[in-house]
């Protein structure tokens, strides 16, 4: 197998403002973020010859040919893994530039107005939700909060993890958001605020759930060689992988409800990057719900299965702790940009551009994705 370690680098990152509502189309927002990423790399939009748009969105590669005036797009793909899509796309883009199929691959994710329809109606149209739609939606399981609540409750019953431990993830993200002017959640959160927030799908309270909002983010992946000649210091992709759980179309039928697809991907990415867990200076962990962060920390191997609740205690995941996570505030407190905002943040941390929230001497970092019914992805990057 071709070793992909350090064959590719993030050469540019960009985003729009993140807002509660918008009067702009998903396409318009996505193009703005994409243009910002291309300019950040010091490229011209016409230099892009590969595109991986978000599979759950309405933007396609053709839109970039049309709007960027790309004369010869060599590579287009999608990575339909819900919230794991953005990080999974890093692997696809890395393969494309490492093999020379493309020179500069643009990865985009945009979210337009949220008034565009009920989430259960949107999910029903997704082929990966076919079984859920047939057997679970008719009995009142209609949204991700409910799908994942069964996993979280099982974890609590087996391992004794608690709502207060989930809260530490929310409090951490919110505390970090206070240092990020782009973040939507600018009001500090106390444990009591979390515990008093209304129950959504037990054990998930409102503050266990990520934000809704509009905006877009994008990154450009170039071959390591080309990236060295561009405007910004390259952030190398040392290791990347995607992983799928058993019974990926129905959580209900999964052998172990507390194990996610990322458990398969983690050893591959760590081995490819040639680093250990102790080398990770900062981690941007996909946080659609607080519990999903705990579970990923276990499946990534930062602690044993069942130990996630203890692991996050005592400030370990906060700035200044052993493993600061979601330094931008995450989906819980910055914005729900499908985790593309996690990739952007990791790159900025490794470039040392994060001001007040900068992790001191951040050299190696990790970013994860989680989506649909347990799909996972991760990338380990370094400066």
């Amino acid at each position: 197998m071709i070793n992909l370690c350090d064959k590719a680098a993030v050469s540019g990152v960009g985003e729009t403002a993140y807002t509660r509502e918008t009067d702009r189309s998903q396409l318009s927002l996505t193009l703005e973020a994409a243009l910002n990423a291309v300019l950040d790399a010091g490229l011209d939009p016409k230099d892009i010859d590969g595109v991986i748009p978000y599979a759950s969105g309405g933007v396609v590669a053709e839109d970039f040919i049309t709007n960027f005036g790309i004369a010869d797009l060599r590579y287009s793909a999608q990575t339909p893994m819900g919230g794991a899509s953005a990080v999974a796309a890093l692997q696809s883009a890395t393969m494309a530039v490492a093999t020379g199929v493309a020179k500069h691959v643009l990865i985009t994710l945009g979210r337009g107005s949220i008034s565009g329809g009920r989430i259960s109606d949107q999910l029903t149209r997704m082929p990966q939700m076919r079984l859920v739609s047939e057997f679970e939606m008719p009995i009142g399981t209609n949204a991700p909060a409910q799908f994942y609540a069964h996993m979280a409750r099982r974890h609590m019953e087996l391992y004794g993890s608690t709502s207060e431990q989930f809260a530490e993830v929310a409090l951490t993200c919110c505390a970090h958001a206070q240092l990020n002017e782009r973040a939507m959640m600018r009001k500090p959160m106390r444990l009591a605020d979390h515990q008093n927030s209304r129950m959504i799908a037990d054990p998930f309270r409102l503050f266990d759930c990520s934000l809704e909002g509009a905006g877009a983010a994008a990154v450009v992946i170039s071959s390591a060689e080309r990236a060295r000649d561009l405007r910004c210091a390259p952030i190398y992709i040392g290791g990347c992988a995607e992983g799928h759980p058993d019974s990926p179309s129905a959580i209900t039928q999964r052998r172990d409800l507390t194990r996610l697809g990322i458990a398969n991907a983690a050893p591959i990415a760590f081995a490819m990057a040639g680093v250990t867990h102790a080398d990770i200076d900062v981690a941007e962990i996909y946080d659609c719900f607080t519990y999903i962060v705990l579970c990923q920390l276990e499946d990534l191997g930062f602690c044993a299965k069942g130990e996630g609740g203890h692991f996050v205690a005592n400030g370990r995941i906060r700035l200044g702790g052993d493993l600061p996570i979601n330094t931008h505030g995450g989906l819980l407190s910055e914005a729900h940009i499908g985790g593309m905002n996690h990739i952007v943040e990791l790159v900025r941390q490794l470039r040392g551009e994060c001001g007040e929230r900068q992790v001191t001497n951040a050299e190696v970092g990790l970013v994860t994705g989680f989506g649909d019914l347990g799909d996972g992805s991760l990338a380990i990057m370094h400066r």
């Binding site: 029903t124 739609s133 009995i139 009142g140 399981t141 209609n142 069964h150 959504i200 209900t252 409800l257």
Partner: protein, 140 residues
């Protein structure tokens, strides 16, 4: 009419097509049917075209008994679909049947003794002339 599954506004309906037809037809007769591989006898659920143990497309339908245990659950307090607003809050259990087969079903009756491993009895709710669903009740 029943006390845990209101009739309006409309709830989402299963498509009831192809591999799923016999399952839903079984529920109409108050039978829980799962697919059984005709080559290796492995049971599987939710319904799908082929056996993942031997790749056979041949199967028949096997009736499972009416008892189960709690694997996990959630209590929904927020109406993600208008059809369930009247039922809030409601409990949905993931229930272990046998051979690794599970079901998700609404919980009828009290949730006081809800815990992993709690014994469940399976019940049938005739929603209307076309649709029957399964509910679970904690065994007294």
């Amino acid at each position: 009419m029943n006390d845990i599954y209101s009739e309006s506004p409309a709830k989402p309906r299963p498509q009831i097509a192809l591999e799923n037809q016999s399952y839903w037809d079984g529920l109409r007769r108050h039978q829980l049917l799962v697919q059984r591989c005709l080559t290796c006898a492995k049971l599987r659920h939710y319904p799908r075209p082929m056996c993942d143990a031997c790749y056979s497309f041949e199967y028949d339908w096997h009736a499972l008994s009416g008892s189960a245990t709690v694997h996990s659950w959630t209590v929904t307090h927020h109406a993600f679909h208008a059809g369930f607003k009247q039922d809030l809050p409601y409990v949905t259990v993931t229930a272990d049947l046998r051979d690794g087969i599970r079901l998700q079903a609404p919980l009828a009756g009290s949730d006081v003794n809800l815990a992993v491993g709690a014994r469940l009895d399976l019940e049938f709710i005739d929603v209307d002339a076309e649709l029957t669903i399964i509910s679970m009740r904690i065994r007294a």
